[in-house]
C-alpha cells in the first residue's frame, strides 16, 4: 500500500494549494513562528513534524486563521490559498474556515449529542436538504471517522460522555462532515489505538484524492506512511521541507537528521 | 440598654405635623428627639396594640379615629389605657393645574354626576356616560336642580384623580362629597322612588365609575400632582397642606361656594375635612422619659394653636384645643371620657 502511495507522489507535485511566505507569529513577546515559507500542494498530504512546542499547532492555526481568536497572537507575512491572501481584509474568515477545516489537538466535542456534533457543520453550511439527507451525511462522516459502529446505538447520547479516543474520532467526523477543501489535522491519532489509527489514515488517504490534507504528528512512522511531503519545525523555524521520502532517508539539515534518528521504535 | 426616646408610628398624613413637633421637642428639651415612623394609620395602630413594654411604640398617629375592633385587640394585648388626642383637621381640597381649565367652583352634586358609576334615569339605573364637565350642569338640571345654583363648569374632559381605596381620605370624599351630591341632586330620592332600600341606595350613590374617568391614586399627593402635571384636564384631590405648598402649580376650587383655608375649615364652613389624631399609651407615661412632655408639647398653643407652626404648615387647628390640652395634661384615657 505504502508503495502505491510513493508511486503517486511524482505526478502530483505540480499545483500549490497554500503558499506561505515570511510568516511570523508572536504570542506577546514569544516569537513562536519565525519567518516560515512553505508551499502546500493540492491533493497531497503534508505532515508537520517537530518536537513538542516548536510551533506546529501555531502554524497550522494560521492556515485557517484560527489564531484570530487568541488576542495575544500577532501574525505577519503572507499566506495564500489558491493565490488569494487569506489575511486580506476582504477575506471572510468564516468562508475561509469552511474551506479549510480543522481537527484540534485536544478533542473538543460540543456538549450536545453525538448526532448534533456531526450534523452541526452540514447544518450551518446547508449541506442537507432534509432530515434524511442529514442522517446520511452524519452516518457517512461517522463511518469515515471510524466511530460509527461504536456510537450508532447512541447517536443521541451526549458526546462529552465518550472516551478520549472516541471524542477524537467524533471531532474528525465532525470536520470531514463539512467536506472542506483543505483539512488541517492536529495530531488526529494521538489518542487512538492502532486499528482506529489505521482507519483514520485510510480516511486521510481517501481525502487526498480530492483535497489537500495537513497533518501534525509525533509519529515518524505515521508521517512516513500517510504523507507525501513533510515539514520539520524546530523552535519556530521551518528547518526543512520536502518530499517525505527524502526527509526521512536523506535529510539535509543536521537538526532534522538528529530528530529523525533520535526516534524510538 | 433601655430605650430613652419616644417612639411613634402611624399615619403618613399626621407624619409632617408629628415631625415638626418632634424636631422642636428635640431642640428645646433635654430629651432626645422622638422617632416618628410612617407606615399608615392601620399599621401604626396595629403596632400600638401589640402590647405594652419597652419594645412597643408609645404613640400611634392616625388620620381616623381608632375603631372598636382595634380597641378590643388592644385590650386583649394589655393596652387598655389609651389617650385619644385630636390635634386638628386635615382639609381636603380639589385642585387642578394652574393654567388648565377653569375649575373654580364646585358643588357636591356636580362631582356625583361626574363620577357615579350608575345614575338613575327614567326609573332605571344606567351606567354614567358623562364625558365632559360642561355637560354635567345640564344633566343636573334634568334631575331637577336649578341651573342657576350650579357654578359654571369648563369645557374639559372628565378626569379625576381621587385617593385610592387604601386612603382614609377616600372615605371622607365618598361620604362628604359623593353621597352628599347624590342627595343634593335628587338622585337619592330617585333611587328610593325606584324601590331601593336605604343601604342599597347609599351603596349605589357611593360607587364610583371605573372606566378611566376617575383614577384611583394609591400613592401620595405627589403622585396626584405628577398626574395633574401631565394631564392638563385633570383635577385631583389633595390635602390642604399639600396644596398650600404647591400654589405655584395648583389652583384650588371652592366647594359649595366656600374657599378652603384653615379658617373656613376650622369654622366648619368648608364641608370636606377629617380629624387627625394621635393615641398615647397611658401605661407608658411615667416610664418612657419625655412621653408626657411630648404629648403636652404637641397640643400646646405655641405649636398647635392658630398661627403656630402646625397651622402655618396647613393643619387646621382644633377649635377645642383647650379641652384637648387638659385631657393630655391629665392623661384622660378613652374609657374615662
Amino acid at each position: 500500500m505504502n508503495d502505491m502511495r510513493l508511486g503517486d507522489r511524482a505526478k502530483q507535485m505540480d499545483d500549490t494549494k497554500i503558499r506561505a511566505r515570511g510568516v511570523n507569529v508572536f504570542y506577546g513577546d514569544n516569537h513562536a513562528i519565525k519567518d516560515v515559507d512553505v508551499d502546500i500542494a493540492d491533493r497531497m498530504v503534508t505532515a508537520f513534524i517537530g518536537p513538542s512546542g516548536c510551533g506546529k499547532s501555531t502554524f497550522l492555526r494560521c492556515l485557517n486563521r484560527m489564531n484570530d481568536t487568541i488576542s495575544a497572537c500577532k501574525i505577519t507575512g503572507e499566506i495564500k490559498i489558491d493565490d488569494q491572501n487569506i489575511y486580506d481584509s476582504r477575506v471572510d474568515p468564516v468562508q475561509l474556515r469552511a474551506k479549510v477545516g480543522m481537527v484540534f489537538q485536544k478533542p473538543n466535542p460540543f456538549p450536545k449529542s453525538i448526532y448534533d456534533n456531526v450534523a452541526y457543520g452540514p447544518r450551518i453550511h446547508g449541506l442537507a436538504k432534509n432530515r434524511k439527507e442529514m442522517d446520511e451525511i452524519v452516518e457517512r462522516a461517522l463511518r469515515r471517522g471510524a466511530i460509527w459502529n461504536e456510537v450508532k446505538d447512541r447517536l443521541h447520547a451526549p458526546a462529552t460522555g465518550l472516551s478520549g479516543g472516541q471524542q477524537q474520532r467524533i471531532c474528525i467526523a465532525r470536520a470531514v462532515a463539512t467536506e472542506p477543501e483543505v483539512l488541517l489535522m492536529d495530531e488526529p491519532c494521538s489518542a487512538l489505538d492502532p486499528i482506529a489509527t489505521a482507519q483514520v489514515e485510510e480516511l486521510i488517504d481517501e481525502l487526498r484524492q480530492n483535497f489537500s490534507v495537513v497533518i501534525v504528528t509525533h509519529s515518524m512512522q505515521q508521517a512516513a506512511r500517510v504523507s507525501q511531503r513533510t515539514a520539520f519545525f524546530h523552535l519556530g523555524d521551518l528547518v526543512e521541507y520536502g518530499e517525505t521520502g527524502t526527509i526521512f532517508t536523506n535529510p539535509e539539515d543536521s537538526r532534522t537528521e538528529s530528530y529523525i534518528s533520535g526516534r524510538i521504535g | 440598654q433601655s430605650r430613652d426616646n419616644v417612639q411613634i408610628a402611624g399615619s403618613s398624613t399626621v407624619l409632617p405635623y408629628a415631625s415638626i413637633v418632634a424636631e422642636a421637642f428635640g431642640e428645646n428639651f433635654d430629651f432626645p428627639t422622638p422617632v416618628v415612623e410612617s407606615g399608615g394609620s392601620s399599621a401604626g395602630l396595629a403596632r400600638f396594640c401589640e402590647g405594652v413594654g419597652e419594645n412597643q411604640i408609645d404613640i400611634a398617629n392616625a388620620s381616623r379615629p381608632i375603631r372598636e375592633g382595634e380597641i378590643e385587640t388592644c385590650a386583649a394585648n394589655g393596652v387598655d389605657e389609651i389617650v385619644e388626642v385630636r390635634i386638628g383637621y386635615d382639609g381636603i381640597v380639589f385642585a387642578s393645574q394652574i393654567d388648565g381649565p377653569a375649575f373654580d367652583a364646585f358643588v357636591p352634586a356636580q362631582w356625583y354626576a361626574a363620577l357615579a358609576a350608575e345614575v338613575p334615569m327614567d326609573g332605571e339605573m344606567v351606567a354614567n356616560d358623562a364625558a365632559n364637565w360642561n355637560a354635567i350642569n345640564e344633566e343636573l338640571a334634568a334631575w331637577g336642580m336649578t341651573e342657576a345654583d350650579l357654578p359654571a363648569l369648563p369645557d374639559a374632559e372628565i378626569l379625576a384623580f381621587i385617593p385610592g381605596t387604601r386612603h382614609g381620605t377616600r372615605e371622607v370624599f365618598e361620604e362628604n362629597v359623593i353621597l352628599q351630591g347624590c342627595e343634593d341632586s335628587g338622585a337619592m330620592q330617585a333611587m328610593m322612588d325606584m324601590g331601593m332600600d336605604e343601604d342599597a341606595t347609599e351603596e349605589a350613590c357611593m360607587s364610583i365609575r371605573t372606566d378611566g374617568t376617575s383614577v384611583d391614586i394609591d400613592g401620595d399627593y405627589t403622585e396626584t400632582l405628577a398626574r395633574i402635571g401631565s394631564n392638563p384636564d385633570g383635577i385631583g384631590v389633595f390635602g390642604l397642606a399639600f396644596y398650600e405648598n404647591n400654589t405655584d402649580t395648583l389652583k384650588v376650587a371652592t366647594m359649595s361656594g366656600v374657599e378652603p383655608s384653615t379658617e373656613t375649615i376650622a369654622s366648619g364652613d368648608y364641608p370636606v375635612s377629617r380629624p387627625l389624631f394621635f393615641y398615647v399609651k397611658a401605661a407608658h407615661v411615667g416610664v418612657i422619659p419625655g412621653l408626657q412632655e411630648f404629648a403636652s408639647f404637641f397640643v400646646s398653643d405655641e405649636l398647635a394653636g392658630t398661627g403656630g407652626p402646625l397651622a402655618n404648615y396647613g393643619l387646621v387647628p382644633d377649635p377645642e384645643l383647650a379641652a384637648t390640652q387638659e385631657k393630655v395634661a391629665n392623661m384622660t384615657t378613652m374609657d374615662q371620657e
Binding site: 484560527m66 450551518i124 465532525r174 472542506p180 | 399608615g40 383614577v215
Partner: protein
C-alpha cells in the same frame, strides 16, 4: 467583663491554640511536615475551632437566656406595683442602667450605689444623662439593685464559663494533636457543617415568612370566604365593609406586567451580554458592564417616576387618543405597558451581567470547535455557546422574573392602582405586591379583612411561586434525565 472583651479573649485563646497546635504538630514530627496527616495549619485551625467555637456558641446562648433568667428572679419583686409588670421591668432596667452609668462616669462609688435611696434619685441620675420618666419608687429601686446584683453575677459567671470553656477545649484539642490526627478532615467537617447551616438559612427564612404571615392569613379567611378570595374576579375594597377581595385580577396583573418586563429585559439583556462577551472590545466591556449594573442600583422609586412622568406620556402620544398611530388603545398614561417597559429596563442588568459571566465561562475550545467548522460568530453563539451556557442563563432569567413579581414602586406609579382583568396592555392594572403594600400601609381597621388581606395576598403569592418552582425543578430534572 463586657461581651466585647470576652469575645476578644476567646479569640485570643483560639489564636494561641492555633499557634501552639501548629507548633506541637510540627515538633511531633521533628519539623518534617510529610509525616503529618494534614498540613500544620490544619492542626492549628482545628485547635482554634475547638477553642473558639463552643465557647462562642455558649456565650451566644447565655446572652440570649440570661435576660429571661434575670427577669424571672426580679419580676416577683415588682409584682406588688400597681402597674403592668413589663413596664415596671423596663423602669427597673433603666434605673439599673442609670446607676451603672453613674458609677462608670465616676458620679457614684460602688459603695454609695449599694446604699442609694429613692429620694431625689431621678435628679441625681439625670445629671449623668439618664432620664427617668417619673420619681423612683422604693420597690423599683430594690428591684433595680437586685437586678444589678444578678446581672453582675451573671456577667462574672459568663466570663468564667466562656473563657474556661475556651481554655479547656483548647487544651483538649492541643492534647489531641498527633501526627496521625486527621486535622484536615475535622476542619473540613466543621466547614461543611457551616456550609450546610448556611444553606439552611433559606429554610429558616421560609419558615419565618410562613409563620409571620400564617396567623393573620387564617384570621382573614375567618372573616372572608377563601373561595371568594381565591376565585373572585373583582377587587374592590371599601371601608364600609362589603368589599370584594378577589385575587384573580391582581394575579393577572402580576403575570401580565412581569411578562412584558421580561419581554423587554430578556432580549435586550441577553443580546447585550452576548455582544459584550463575544464581540465587544475588552475596554468596552470593562466599562459597559458596570455601567449597565448602575441600572440595577437606581432606586425603584426613580423608575416609578420615570414611568409616570416620561414613559407614560410618551406612550400616550403614540397609542393614546390623538396619538401618532391614531389608535385609541390607551386611556391614561399608567398602564401595564408603561410599568412593564420600565421594569424591563430595571431588569436588564440582572439578565445581562449574569449571562455575560456565564457565557464568558464557556471554554474557548468550544468556540474554536465551532469556528473551525466555518461557523460564523453568531452561529457559534446561538448553537454552541448559548446551549452550553443555558443553565446559567435560565437562572438569570428566573432571577429577573422573580424580581419582576416582587417589584412594587414601579407598579404603583407606572401601572396604576386599578385591579382589572383585561387583555389590553394599555390598560391600567395592578399587581399582588402593590396591593400588599397598599393594604398594609392603608387606613383600614387593622383587624378588618381589608387590611388582613395583605397577609393572605402575601401567603397566596408565596404558595403560588412555590408551586411554580417545584414544577420548574421537576421539569429541569426530567429534561436532564432525558438528555443523559
Amino acid at each position: 467583663m463586657s461581651t466585647f472583651w470576652i469575645v476578644l479573649v476567646v479569640l485570643a485563646v483560639a489564636a494561641l491554640c492555633f499557634v501552639l497546635a501548629r507548633r506541637r504538630a510540627l515538633s511531633a514530627v521533628d519539623g518534617d511536615q510529610r509525616h503529618l496527616h494534614s498540613r500544620p495549619n490544619y492542626y492549628g485551625f482545628s485547635a482554634a475551632l475547638w477553642a473558639a467555637g463552643p465557647a462562642l456558641i455558649v456565650l451566644a446562648l447565655w446572652l440570649a437566656l440570661q435576660p429571661l433568667v434575670v427577669d424571672r428572679s426580679v419580676r416577683p419583686l415588682v409584682l406588688e406595683e400597681d402597674r403592668n409588670a413589663a413596664l415596671v421591668m423596663s423602669d427597673v432596667t433603666r434605673l439599673a442602667g442609670g446607676i451603672d452609668r453613674a458609677i462608670a462616669m465616676g458620679g457614684l462609688t460602688a459603695q454609695e450605689a449599694r446604699g442609694l435611696t429613692a429620694d431625689g434619685l431621678r435628679d441625681r441620675l439625670s445629671d449623668f444623662g439618664t432620664a427617668l420618666a417619673s420619681e423612683v419608687s422604693p420597690g423599683v429601686l430594690e428591684a433595680a439593685q437586685r437586678y444589678r446584683t444578678i446581672e453582675g453575677r451573671g456577667a462574672l459567671l459568663r466570663s468564667i464559663l466562656t473563657i474556661g470553656l475556651a481554655v479547656g477545649l483548647g487544651a483538649f484539642a492541643l492534647w489531641r494533636v498527633a501526627p496521625g490526627f486527621r486535622a484536615r478532615t475535622s476542619v473540613e467537617r466543621a466547614i461543611l457543617g457551616a456550609l450546610i447551616a448556611a444553606a439552611c438559612v433559606a429554610i429558616g427564612t421560609t419558615i419565618g415568612i410562613v409563620l409571620s404571615l400564617i396567623f393573620n392569613t387564617i384570621k382573614f379567611f375567618g372573616l372572608y370566604p377563601a373561595a371568594d378570595f381565591l376565585f373572585g374576579t373583582t377587587w374592590a375594597p371599601s371601608f364600609g365593609g362589603g368589599s370584594s377581595l378577589g385575587i384573580l385580577p391582581l394575579l393577572w396583573g402580576t403575570l401580565y406586567i412581569s411578562l412584558i418586563a421580561l419581554l423587554v429585559a430578556v432580549p435586550i439583556g441577553l443580546l447585550a451580554a452576548i455582544y459584550l462577551s463575544e464581540y465587544a472590545h475588552r475596554t468596552v466591556r470593562a466599562w459597559a458592564k458596570p455601567m449597565l449594573e448602575v441600572l440595577a442600583g437606581i432606586p425603584t422609586i426613580v423608575y416609578g417616576l420615570f414611568a409616570l412622568l416620561t414613559v407614560g406620556p410618551l406612550l400616550m402620544d403614540v397609542f393614546g387618543p390623538g396619538g401618532a398611530l391614531g389608535v385609541r388603545w390607551m386611556g391614561g398614561g399608567t398602564s401595564v405597558m408603561t410599568a412593564g417597559l420600565v421594569m424591563g429596563i430595571m431588569l436588564i442588568p440582572f439578565v445581562s451581567s449574569l449571562s455575560d459571566d456565564i457565557i464568558n465561562a464557556v471554554p474557548q475550545s468550544m468556540r474554536d470547535g465551532s469556528l473551525g467548522l466555518g461557523a460564523t460568530q453568531s452561529e457559534t453563539v446561538k448553537q454552541v455557546i448559548l446551549p452550553a451556557a443555558l443553565p446559567g442563563i435560565v437562572g438569570a432569567v428566573l432571577l429577573a422574573a422573580s424580581r419582576a413579581i416582587g417589584e412594587t414602586m414601579i407598579v404603583v406609579l407606572g401601572a396604576g392602582a386599578a385591579a382589572r382583568l383585561d387583555l389590553n396592555p394599555f390598560e391600567a392594572m395592578t399587581t399582588v405586591t402593590a396591593k400588599i403594600v397598599s393594604q398594609l400601609t392603608g387606613d383600614a381597621d387593622f383587624s378588618s379583612p381589608e387590611a388582613l388581606v395583605a397577609f393572605a395576598l402575601g401567603m397566596t403569592l408565596f404558595v403560588i411561586t412555590l408551586i411554580l418552582n417545584v414544577f420548574a425543578l421537576w421539569i429541569v430534572r426530567r429534561y436532564r434525565e432525558q438528555y443523559e
